[in-house]
Subunit: 224 residues, 2 copies
Amino acid sequence: MTGVLVVDDDQHLLKALRITLQAHGYAVETAADGEAALIAASRNPPGLVVLDLGLPDMDGAAVLRELRRWSSAPVLVLSARHGSSDKVDALDAGADDYITKPFGLEELLARLRALLRRAPETAEPSTVDTAEFSVDLGRRMVTRNGEPVRLTPTEWSILELLVRNPGKLITQQQILATVWGPAYEKEANYLRVYMAQLRRKLEADTGNPRHLLTEAGIGYRFRP
Amino acid sequence: MTGVLVVDDDQHLLKALRITLQAHGYAVETAADGEAALIAASRNPPGLVVLDLGLPDMDGAAVLRELRRWSSAPVLVLSARHGSSDKVDALDAGADDYITKPFGLEELLARLRALLRRAPETAEPSTVDTAEFSVDLGRRMVTRNGEPVRLTPTEWSILELLVRNPGKLITQQQILATVWGPAYEKEANYLRVYMAQLRRKLEADTGNPRHLLTEAGIGYRFRP
DNA sequence: GACCGGCGTTAAGGATCCGTCAAGATTCCG
DNA sequence: CGGAATCTTGACGGATCCTTAACGCCGGTC
Protein backbone atom coordinates (compact mmCIF):
# COMPACT_ATOMS: atom_id res chain seq x y z
CA MET A 1 0.00 0.00 0.00
CA THR A 2 1.39 3.33 -1.03
CA GLY A 3 1.90 6.02 1.56
CA VAL A 4 0.77 9.51 0.69
CA LEU A 5 1.72 12.59 2.69
CA VAL A 6 -0.77 15.46 2.33
CA VAL A 7 0.41 18.91 3.40
CA ASP A 8 -2.17 21.68 3.63
CA ASP A 9 -3.26 24.25 6.22
CA ASP A 10 -6.92 24.01 5.31
CA GLN A 11 -8.36 21.52 7.78
CA HIS A 12 -11.45 20.95 5.71
CA LEU A 13 -9.52 20.13 2.58
CA LEU A 14 -7.15 17.96 4.57
CA LYS A 15 -9.99 15.92 5.92
CA ALA A 16 -11.65 15.56 2.55
CA LEU A 17 -8.42 14.41 0.93
CA ARG A 18 -7.72 11.95 3.69
CA ILE A 19 -11.09 10.31 3.31
CA THR A 20 -10.94 10.23 -0.46
CA LEU A 21 -7.43 8.87 -0.65
CA GLN A 22 -8.02 6.23 1.97
CA ALA A 23 -11.11 5.13 0.09
CA HIS A 24 -8.87 4.56 -2.92
CA GLY A 25 -6.42 2.41 -1.06
CA TYR A 26 -3.68 4.80 -0.03
CA ALA A 27 -2.19 5.06 3.42
CA VAL A 28 -2.57 8.73 4.27
CA GLU A 29 -0.57 10.93 6.56
CA THR A 30 -1.25 14.64 6.94
CA ALA A 31 0.60 17.75 8.02
CA ALA A 32 -0.66 21.29 8.44
CA ASP A 33 2.58 23.21 8.05
CA GLY A 34 6.03 22.87 6.52
CA GLU A 35 7.87 21.84 9.65
CA ALA A 36 5.40 19.12 10.49
CA ALA A 37 5.56 17.96 6.90
CA LEU A 38 9.33 17.50 6.93
CA ILE A 39 9.23 15.69 10.25
CA ALA A 40 6.45 13.38 9.11
CA ALA A 41 8.25 12.66 5.88
CA SER A 42 11.50 11.74 7.59
CA ARG A 43 9.77 9.60 10.19
CA ASN A 44 7.75 7.65 7.66
CA PRO A 45 9.04 8.18 4.12
CA PRO A 46 6.02 8.53 1.83
CA GLY A 47 5.73 7.17 -1.66
CA LEU A 48 4.15 10.39 -2.81
CA VAL A 49 3.61 13.92 -1.50
CA VAL A 50 0.70 16.31 -2.08
CA LEU A 51 1.93 19.75 -1.13
CA ASP A 52 0.08 23.02 -0.81
CA LEU A 53 2.27 26.01 -1.56
CA GLY A 54 0.45 28.39 0.76
CA LEU A 55 1.63 27.30 4.17
CA PRO A 56 1.62 29.41 7.35
CA ASP A 57 5.16 28.87 8.59
CA MET A 58 7.39 28.60 5.56
CA ASP A 59 7.34 28.92 1.82
CA GLY A 60 6.08 25.85 0.08
CA ALA A 61 9.04 25.98 -2.28
CA ALA A 62 11.36 25.83 0.72
CA VAL A 63 9.63 22.68 1.94
CA LEU A 64 10.04 21.23 -1.51
CA ARG A 65 13.75 21.95 -1.64
CA GLU A 66 14.33 20.53 1.83
CA LEU A 67 12.45 17.41 0.92
CA ARG A 68 14.38 17.01 -2.31
CA ARG A 69 17.66 16.91 -0.44
CA TRP A 70 17.04 13.34 0.55
CA SER A 71 13.79 12.15 -0.96
CA SER A 72 13.01 11.42 -4.56
CA ALA A 73 9.33 10.74 -4.01
CA PRO A 74 7.03 12.36 -6.56
CA VAL A 75 5.52 15.65 -5.40
CA LEU A 76 2.22 17.06 -6.62
CA VAL A 77 1.82 20.74 -5.81
CA LEU A 78 -1.50 22.38 -5.00
CA SER A 79 -1.85 26.10 -5.28
CA ALA A 80 -4.44 28.84 -5.45
CA ARG A 81 -2.16 30.86 -7.71
CA HIS A 82 -2.65 30.57 -11.44
CA GLY A 83 0.39 32.57 -12.45
CA SER A 84 2.75 31.01 -14.95
CA SER A 85 5.84 31.93 -12.97
CA ASP A 86 4.50 30.22 -9.86
CA LYS A 87 4.10 27.01 -11.75
CA VAL A 88 7.52 27.26 -13.38
CA ASP A 89 9.19 27.94 -10.05
CA ALA A 90 7.53 25.03 -8.33
CA LEU A 91 8.23 22.60 -11.14
CA ASP A 92 11.85 23.65 -11.41
CA ALA A 93 12.22 23.38 -7.65
CA GLY A 94 11.56 19.67 -7.98
CA ALA A 95 7.79 19.29 -8.15
CA ASP A 96 6.46 16.69 -10.56
CA ASP A 97 3.03 18.17 -11.16
CA TYR A 98 1.06 21.30 -10.37
CA ILE A 99 -2.69 21.84 -10.21
CA THR A 100 -4.58 24.94 -9.19
CA LYS A 101 -7.45 25.24 -6.76
CA PRO A 102 -10.21 24.57 -7.14
CA PHE A 103 -9.62 21.17 -8.65
CA GLY A 104 -11.66 18.06 -9.23
CA LEU A 105 -10.95 15.08 -7.02
CA GLU A 106 -11.13 12.78 -10.02
CA GLU A 107 -8.42 14.73 -11.75
CA LEU A 108 -6.26 14.73 -8.65
CA LEU A 109 -6.58 10.98 -8.33
CA ALA A 110 -5.77 10.47 -12.00
CA ARG A 111 -2.65 12.61 -11.68
CA LEU A 112 -1.58 10.68 -8.61
CA ARG A 113 -1.94 7.46 -10.52
CA ALA A 114 0.11 8.86 -13.38
CA LEU A 115 2.86 9.90 -10.99
CA LEU A 116 2.94 6.60 -9.15
CA ARG A 117 3.08 4.74 -12.43
CA ARG A 118 6.52 6.26 -12.94
CA ALA A 119 7.59 5.81 -9.35
CA PRO A 120 8.94 2.28 -8.89
CA GLU A 121 12.58 3.11 -8.89
CA THR A 122 15.05 0.31 -8.89
CA ALA A 123 17.93 0.48 -6.49
CA GLU A 124 20.88 -0.73 -8.50
CA PRO A 125 22.89 -3.56 -7.01
CA SER A 126 26.44 -2.83 -6.07
CA THR A 127 27.76 -6.16 -7.27
CA VAL A 128 26.96 -8.21 -10.33
CA ASP A 129 27.66 -11.92 -10.38
CA THR A 130 27.99 -14.52 -13.06
CA ALA A 131 28.75 -18.19 -12.90
CA GLU A 132 32.45 -17.53 -13.33
CA PHE A 133 33.28 -14.05 -12.12
CA SER A 134 31.89 -11.28 -9.95
CA VAL A 135 32.06 -7.51 -10.44
CA ASP A 136 31.90 -5.20 -7.42
CA LEU A 137 30.89 -1.86 -8.83
CA GLY A 138 31.32 0.00 -5.57
CA ARG A 139 34.79 -1.28 -4.80
CA ARG A 140 35.88 -1.30 -8.40
CA MET A 141 37.03 -4.87 -8.02
CA VAL A 142 36.64 -8.05 -10.02
CA THR A 143 37.09 -11.57 -8.69
CA ARG A 144 37.20 -14.82 -10.56
CA ASN A 145 36.84 -18.07 -8.65
CA GLY A 146 37.52 -16.05 -5.53
CA GLU A 147 40.81 -14.71 -6.87
CA PRO A 148 41.06 -10.99 -7.55
CA VAL A 149 41.61 -10.02 -11.18
CA ARG A 150 43.80 -7.08 -12.12
CA LEU A 151 42.16 -4.78 -14.66
CA THR A 152 43.66 -1.72 -16.26
CA PRO A 153 41.64 1.53 -16.08
CA THR A 154 40.46 1.21 -19.67
CA GLU A 155 39.47 -2.41 -19.21
CA TRP A 156 37.48 -1.48 -16.13
CA SER A 157 35.66 1.35 -17.86
CA ILE A 158 34.46 -0.93 -20.62
CA LEU A 159 33.47 -3.72 -18.26
CA GLU A 160 31.62 -1.31 -15.98
CA LEU A 161 29.59 0.13 -18.83
CA LEU A 162 28.58 -3.33 -19.99
CA VAL A 163 27.87 -4.72 -16.53
CA ARG A 164 25.73 -1.75 -15.51
CA ASN A 165 23.42 -2.61 -18.37
CA PRO A 166 22.96 -6.36 -18.07
CA GLY A 167 21.60 -7.97 -21.18
CA LYS A 168 21.50 -4.70 -23.04
CA LEU A 169 23.27 -4.29 -26.33
CA ILE A 170 25.77 -1.44 -26.16
CA THR A 171 26.92 -0.08 -29.48
CA GLN A 172 30.56 0.41 -30.30
CA GLN A 173 29.96 4.14 -30.56
CA GLN A 174 28.53 4.21 -27.06
CA ILE A 175 31.51 2.39 -25.61
CA LEU A 176 34.07 4.45 -27.48
CA ALA A 177 32.33 7.70 -26.60
CA THR A 178 32.05 6.75 -22.95
CA VAL A 179 35.55 5.39 -22.45
CA TRP A 180 37.70 7.43 -24.84
CA GLY A 181 35.45 10.40 -25.57
CA PRO A 182 33.13 11.34 -28.42
CA ALA A 183 36.04 12.11 -30.74
CA TYR A 184 37.11 8.45 -30.88
CA GLU A 185 33.90 6.96 -32.23
CA LYS A 186 35.67 5.63 -35.30
CA GLU A 187 38.46 3.77 -33.53
CA ALA A 188 36.76 0.40 -33.44
CA ASN A 189 40.20 -1.18 -33.36
CA TYR A 190 40.67 -0.24 -29.72
CA LEU A 191 37.58 -2.14 -28.79
CA ARG A 192 38.68 -5.33 -30.44
CA VAL A 193 41.95 -5.28 -28.55
CA TYR A 194 40.37 -4.59 -25.19
CA MET A 195 37.51 -7.00 -25.56
CA ALA A 196 40.05 -9.71 -26.30
CA GLN A 197 41.95 -8.64 -23.20
CA LEU A 198 38.85 -8.73 -21.02
CA ARG A 199 37.84 -12.12 -22.29
CA ARG A 200 41.30 -13.52 -21.68
CA LYS A 201 41.05 -12.39 -18.09
CA LEU A 202 37.42 -13.30 -17.41
CA GLU A 203 36.19 -15.99 -19.74
CA ALA A 204 37.01 -19.68 -19.42
CA ASP A 205 36.89 -20.32 -23.15
CA THR A 206 38.05 -17.25 -25.02
CA GLY A 207 36.81 -18.65 -28.30
CA ASN A 208 33.30 -19.24 -26.97
CA PRO A 209 32.58 -16.39 -24.57
CA ARG A 210 29.63 -16.96 -22.28
CA HIS A 211 29.17 -13.51 -20.81
CA LEU A 212 30.91 -10.94 -23.00
CA LEU A 213 29.10 -11.42 -26.26
CA THR A 214 29.73 -9.88 -29.66
CA GLU A 215 26.99 -8.56 -31.89
CA ALA A 216 28.65 -8.28 -35.25
CA GLY A 217 28.27 -4.90 -36.83
CA ILE A 218 26.72 -3.29 -33.76
CA GLY A 219 28.49 -3.72 -30.46
CA TYR A 220 28.74 -5.91 -27.38
CA ARG A 221 26.50 -7.27 -24.69
CA PHE A 222 26.99 -8.55 -21.13
CA ARG A 223 24.99 -11.64 -20.23
CA PRO A 224 24.79 -12.41 -16.49
CA MET B 1 20.22 15.95 -26.89
CA THR B 2 16.73 14.81 -26.09
CA GLY B 3 14.35 14.08 -28.93
CA VAL B 4 10.82 15.46 -28.65
CA LEU B 5 7.99 14.40 -30.91
CA VAL B 6 5.25 17.02 -31.25
CA VAL B 7 1.90 15.85 -32.61
CA ASP B 8 -0.68 18.48 -33.52
CA ASP B 9 -2.82 19.29 -36.53
CA ASP B 10 -2.49 23.04 -36.07
CA GLN B 11 0.39 24.02 -38.36
CA HIS B 12 0.88 27.35 -36.63
CA LEU B 13 1.17 25.81 -33.20
CA LEU B 14 3.43 23.10 -34.60
CA LYS B 15 5.80 25.66 -36.02
CA ALA B 16 5.82 27.74 -32.86
CA LEU B 17 6.54 24.72 -30.70
CA ARG B 18 9.28 23.53 -33.01
CA ILE B 19 11.08 26.85 -32.86
CA THR B 20 10.67 27.22 -29.12
CA LEU B 21 11.78 23.70 -28.30
CA GLN B 22 14.75 23.82 -30.63
CA ALA B 23 15.81 27.09 -29.05
CA HIS B 24 15.87 25.26 -25.72
CA GLY B 25 18.09 22.48 -26.98
CA TYR B 26 15.68 19.75 -27.91
CA ALA B 27 15.76 17.79 -31.17
CA VAL B 28 12.26 18.23 -32.50
CA GLU B 29 10.26 16.03 -34.80
CA THR B 30 6.69 16.84 -35.76
CA ALA B 31 3.63 14.99 -37.01
CA ALA B 32 0.26 16.32 -38.05
CA ASP B 33 -1.85 13.22 -37.52
CA GLY B 34 -1.89 10.01 -35.56
CA GLU B 35 -0.59 7.75 -38.27
CA ALA B 36 2.38 9.95 -39.04
CA ALA B 37 3.07 10.21 -35.33
CA LEU B 38 3.29 6.46 -34.84
CA ILE B 39 5.54 5.98 -37.85
CA ALA B 40 7.80 8.82 -36.79
CA ALA B 41 8.00 7.49 -33.26
CA SER B 42 8.97 4.01 -34.38
CA ARG B 43 11.51 5.31 -36.85
CA ASN B 44 13.19 7.56 -34.34
CA PRO B 45 12.09 6.81 -30.79
CA PRO B 46 11.63 10.10 -28.96
CA GLY B 47 12.56 10.78 -25.37
CA LEU B 48 9.30 12.64 -24.88
CA VAL B 49 6.02 13.14 -26.72
CA VAL B 50 3.75 16.19 -26.82
CA LEU B 51 0.39 14.99 -28.07
CA ASP B 52 -2.69 16.93 -29.04
CA LEU B 53 -5.88 14.99 -28.41
CA GLY B 54 -7.82 16.53 -31.29
CA LEU B 55 -6.34 14.90 -34.37
CA PRO B 56 -8.00 14.60 -37.77
CA ASP B 57 -7.50 10.92 -38.49
CA MET B 58 -7.77 9.09 -35.20
CA ASP B 59 -8.57 9.64 -31.57
CA GLY B 60 -5.68 11.01 -29.58
CA ALA B 61 -6.29 8.39 -26.92
CA ALA B 62 -5.90 5.70 -29.56
CA VAL B 63 -2.52 7.11 -30.55
CA LEU B 64 -1.55 7.09 -26.92
CA ARG B 65 -2.51 3.47 -26.45
CA GLU B 66 -0.71 2.38 -29.61
CA LEU B 67 2.41 4.19 -28.50
CA ARG B 68 2.24 2.69 -25.01
CA ARG B 69 2.35 -0.79 -26.45
CA TRP B 70 6.06 -0.48 -26.95
CA SER B 71 7.26 2.90 -25.72
CA SER B 72 7.57 4.14 -22.17
CA ALA B 73 8.52 7.67 -23.12
CA PRO B 74 6.74 10.37 -21.10
CA VAL B 75 3.72 11.84 -22.87
CA LEU B 76 2.35 15.32 -22.26
CA VAL B 77 -1.16 15.77 -23.59
CA LEU B 78 -2.48 19.02 -25.01
CA SER B 79 -6.18 19.56 -25.25
CA ALA B 80 -8.76 22.24 -25.74
CA ARG B 81 -11.15 20.38 -23.48
CA HIS B 82 -11.30 21.32 -19.83
CA GLY B 83 -13.57 18.52 -18.72
CA SER B 84 -12.47 16.43 -15.79
CA SER B 85 -13.31 13.15 -17.46
CA ASP B 86 -11.16 14.02 -20.47
CA LYS B 87 -8.18 14.53 -18.21
CA VAL B 88 -8.83 11.37 -16.25
CA ASP B 89 -9.20 9.31 -19.41
CA ALA B 90 -5.99 10.62 -20.93
CA LEU B 91 -3.98 10.18 -17.76
CA ASP B 92 -5.26 6.67 -17.21
CA ALA B 93 -4.57 5.80 -20.83
CA GLY B 94 -0.89 6.34 -20.12
CA ALA B 95 -0.33 10.08 -20.36
CA ASP B 96 2.01 11.61 -17.80
CA ASP B 97 0.68 15.16 -17.83
CA TYR B 98 -2.22 17.13 -19.26
CA ILE B 99 -2.51 20.84 -19.94
CA THR B 100 -5.34 22.71 -21.59
CA LYS B 101 -5.18 25.22 -24.38
CA PRO B 102 -4.42 28.01 -24.28
CA PHE B 103 -1.27 27.45 -22.29
CA GLY B 104 1.86 29.42 -21.54
CA LEU B 105 5.05 28.31 -23.24
CA GLU B 106 6.96 28.79 -20.01
CA GLU B 107 4.66 26.41 -18.21
CA LEU B 108 4.93 23.89 -21.00
CA LEU B 109 8.69 23.99 -20.86
CA ALA B 110 8.70 23.65 -17.09
CA ARG B 111 6.45 20.62 -17.30
CA LEU B 112 8.67 19.08 -19.94
CA ARG B 113 11.67 19.55 -17.68
CA ALA B 114 9.79 17.95 -14.79
CA LEU B 115 8.87 14.96 -16.92
CA LEU B 116 12.38 14.49 -18.29
CA ARG B 117 13.80 14.73 -14.80
CA ARG B 118 11.86 11.60 -13.92
CA ALA B 119 12.83 9.66 -17.01
CA PRO B 120 16.48 10.50 -17.58
CA GLU B 121 17.07 8.89 -20.92
CA THR B 122 15.10 5.92 -19.74
CA ALA B 123 16.46 2.73 -21.17
CA GLU B 124 13.16 1.67 -22.61
CA PRO B 125 12.52 -1.60 -20.80
CA SER B 126 9.68 -2.18 -23.16
CA THR B 127 9.08 -5.62 -24.58
CA VAL B 128 6.59 -6.98 -27.06
CA ASP B 129 5.51 -10.56 -26.61
CA THR B 130 3.89 -13.16 -28.78
CA ALA B 131 2.96 -16.73 -28.09
CA GLU B 132 6.27 -17.94 -29.47
CA PHE B 133 8.86 -15.22 -29.17
CA SER B 134 9.52 -12.01 -27.32
CA VAL B 135 11.19 -8.83 -28.53
CA ASP B 136 12.99 -6.64 -25.98
CA LEU B 137 13.28 -3.28 -27.69
CA GLY B 138 15.38 -1.65 -24.99
CA ARG B 139 17.97 -4.39 -24.83
CA ARG B 140 17.80 -5.10 -28.50
CA MET B 141 17.28 -8.75 -27.78
CA VAL B 142 14.96 -11.45 -29.08
CA THR B 143 14.16 -14.66 -27.24
CA ARG B 144 12.27 -17.69 -28.44
CA ASN B 145 11.12 -20.24 -25.89
CA GLY B 146 13.48 -18.56 -23.47
CA GLU B 147 16.48 -19.03 -25.74
CA PRO B 148 18.15 -15.94 -27.18
CA VAL B 149 17.95 -15.60 -30.94
CA ARG B 150 20.83 -14.10 -32.88
CA LEU B 151 19.73 -11.45 -35.37
CA THR B 152 21.90 -9.54 -37.79
CA PRO B 153 21.65 -5.73 -37.81
CA THR B 154 19.45 -5.69 -40.89
CA GLU B 155 17.16 -8.38 -39.55
CA TRP B 156 16.76 -6.44 -36.34
CA SER B 157 15.97 -3.19 -38.10
CA ILE B 158 13.13 -4.77 -40.03
CA LEU B 159 11.75 -6.59 -37.04
CA GLU B 160 11.96 -3.47 -34.91
CA LEU B 161 9.97 -1.41 -37.38
CA LEU B 162 7.25 -4.04 -37.62
CA VAL B 163 7.05 -4.73 -33.91
CA ARG B 164 6.83 -1.06 -33.03
CA ASN B 165 3.67 -0.86 -35.09
CA PRO B 166 1.78 -3.95 -33.97
CA GLY B 167 -1.02 -5.00 -36.24
CA LYS B 168 -0.32 -2.19 -38.63
CA LEU B 169 0.42 -2.74 -42.29
CA ILE B 170 3.87 -1.42 -43.23
CA THR B 171 4.51 -0.98 -46.93
CA GLN B 172 7.59 -2.34 -48.62
CA GLN B 173 8.66 1.20 -49.44
CA GLN B 174 8.49 2.19 -45.80
CA ILE B 175 10.62 -0.74 -44.74
CA LEU B 176 13.17 -0.28 -47.48
CA ALA B 177 13.41 3.45 -46.87
CA THR B 178 13.81 2.97 -43.13
CA VAL B 179 16.32 0.14 -43.20
CA TRP B 180 18.37 0.76 -46.35
CA GLY B 181 17.57 4.40 -47.06
CA PRO B 182 15.21 6.17 -49.43
CA ALA B 183 17.36 5.29 -52.45
CA TYR B 184 16.57 1.58 -52.14
CA GLU B 185 12.79 1.73 -52.39
CA LYS B 186 12.81 -0.47 -55.48
CA GLU B 187 14.88 -3.32 -54.09
CA ALA B 188 11.97 -5.48 -53.00
CA ASN B 189 14.24 -8.48 -53.42
CA TYR B 190 16.12 -7.65 -50.23
CA LEU B 191 12.89 -7.79 -48.30
CA ARG B 192 11.97 -11.23 -49.51
CA VAL B 193 15.33 -12.59 -48.47
CA TYR B 194 15.24 -11.04 -45.04
CA MET B 195 11.63 -11.83 -44.29
CA ALA B 196 12.40 -15.47 -45.05
CA GLN B 197 15.37 -15.24 -42.74
CA LEU B 198 13.32 -13.72 -39.94
CA ARG B 199 10.59 -16.30 -40.27
CA ARG B 200 13.11 -19.13 -40.23
CA LYS B 201 14.45 -17.80 -36.95
CA LEU B 202 11.17 -16.84 -35.29
CA GLU B 203 8.25 -18.77 -36.73
CA ALA B 204 7.47 -22.39 -35.93
CA ASP B 205 6.01 -23.08 -39.37
CA THR B 206 7.67 -20.86 -41.94
CA GLY B 207 5.09 -21.88 -44.51
CA ASN B 208 2.24 -20.66 -42.30
CA PRO B 209 3.60 -17.66 -40.42
CA ARG B 210 1.54 -16.65 -37.43
CA HIS B 211 3.11 -13.30 -36.59
CA LEU B 212 5.05 -12.01 -39.59
CA LEU B 213 2.34 -11.76 -42.19
CA THR B 214 2.58 -10.91 -45.87
CA GLU B 215 0.16 -8.54 -47.55
CA ALA B 216 0.62 -9.37 -51.20
CA GLY B 217 1.49 -6.40 -53.31
CA ILE B 218 1.64 -4.04 -50.35
CA GLY B 219 3.96 -4.99 -47.55
CA TYR B 220 4.12 -6.81 -44.22
CA ARG B 221 2.39 -6.79 -40.89
CA PHE B 222 3.30 -7.92 -37.38
CA ARG B 223 0.55 -9.65 -35.42
CA PRO B 224 1.22 -10.02 -31.68
C1' DG C 1 -4.86 -24.49 -69.49
C1' DA C 2 -0.96 -21.45 -70.44
C1' DC C 3 0.99 -17.19 -69.18
C1' DC C 4 2.66 -13.90 -65.73
C1' DG C 5 3.79 -11.23 -61.75
C1' DG C 6 4.72 -11.49 -56.88
C1' DC C 7 6.52 -14.23 -53.20
C1' DG C 8 9.49 -17.79 -50.64
C1' DT C 9 13.67 -20.28 -50.58
C1' DT C 10 18.37 -21.36 -51.20
C1' DA C 11 23.19 -20.89 -51.97
C1' DA C 12 27.43 -18.82 -53.51
C1' DG C 13 30.43 -14.81 -53.92
C1' DG C 14 32.37 -10.85 -52.16
C1' DA C 15 32.61 -7.25 -48.79
C1' DT C 16 32.86 -6.22 -44.19
C1' DC C 17 33.78 -7.10 -39.49
C1' DC C 18 36.07 -9.47 -35.65
C1' DG C 19 39.76 -11.94 -32.83
C1' DT C 20 44.48 -12.29 -32.27
C1' DC C 21 49.22 -11.18 -31.96
C1' DA C 22 53.18 -8.43 -31.45
C1' DA C 23 55.95 -4.46 -31.58
C1' DG C 24 56.45 0.47 -30.81
C1' DA C 25 54.92 4.62 -28.21
C1' DT C 26 53.44 6.58 -24.11
C1' DT C 27 52.54 7.13 -19.41
C1' DC C 28 53.23 6.07 -14.66
C1' DC C 29 55.97 5.59 -10.60
C1' DG C 30 59.77 4.64 -7.83
C1' DC D 1 66.46 8.73 -14.75
C1' DG D 2 64.98 3.97 -15.67
C1' DG D 3 61.86 0.19 -15.61
C1' DA D 4 57.25 -1.48 -15.75
C1' DA D 5 52.67 -1.14 -16.90
C1' DT D 6 49.52 0.56 -20.10
C1' DC D 7 48.02 2.24 -24.43
C1' DT D 8 48.26 2.62 -29.50
C1' DT D 9 48.94 0.93 -34.10
C1' DG D 10 49.16 -2.21 -37.90
C1' DA D 11 48.56 -6.57 -40.12
C1' DC D 12 46.58 -11.14 -40.86
C1' DG D 13 43.28 -15.19 -41.04
C1' DG D 14 38.87 -16.41 -40.11
C1' DA D 15 34.08 -15.59 -39.12
C1' DT D 16 29.92 -13.08 -40.11
C1' DC D 17 27.00 -10.52 -42.91
C1' DC D 18 25.17 -8.43 -47.24
C1' DT D 19 24.26 -8.82 -51.94
C1' DT D 20 22.92 -11.11 -56.02
C1' DA D 21 20.98 -14.50 -58.93
C1' DA D 22 18.40 -18.47 -59.90
C1' DC D 23 14.45 -21.51 -59.29
C1' DG D 24 9.90 -23.24 -57.69
C1' DC D 25 5.40 -22.14 -55.96
C1' DC D 26 1.02 -19.86 -55.82
C1' DG D 27 -2.83 -17.00 -57.37
C1' DG D 28 -4.85 -14.23 -60.81
C1' DT D 29 -5.90 -13.33 -65.84
C1' DC D 30 -6.97 -14.07 -70.44
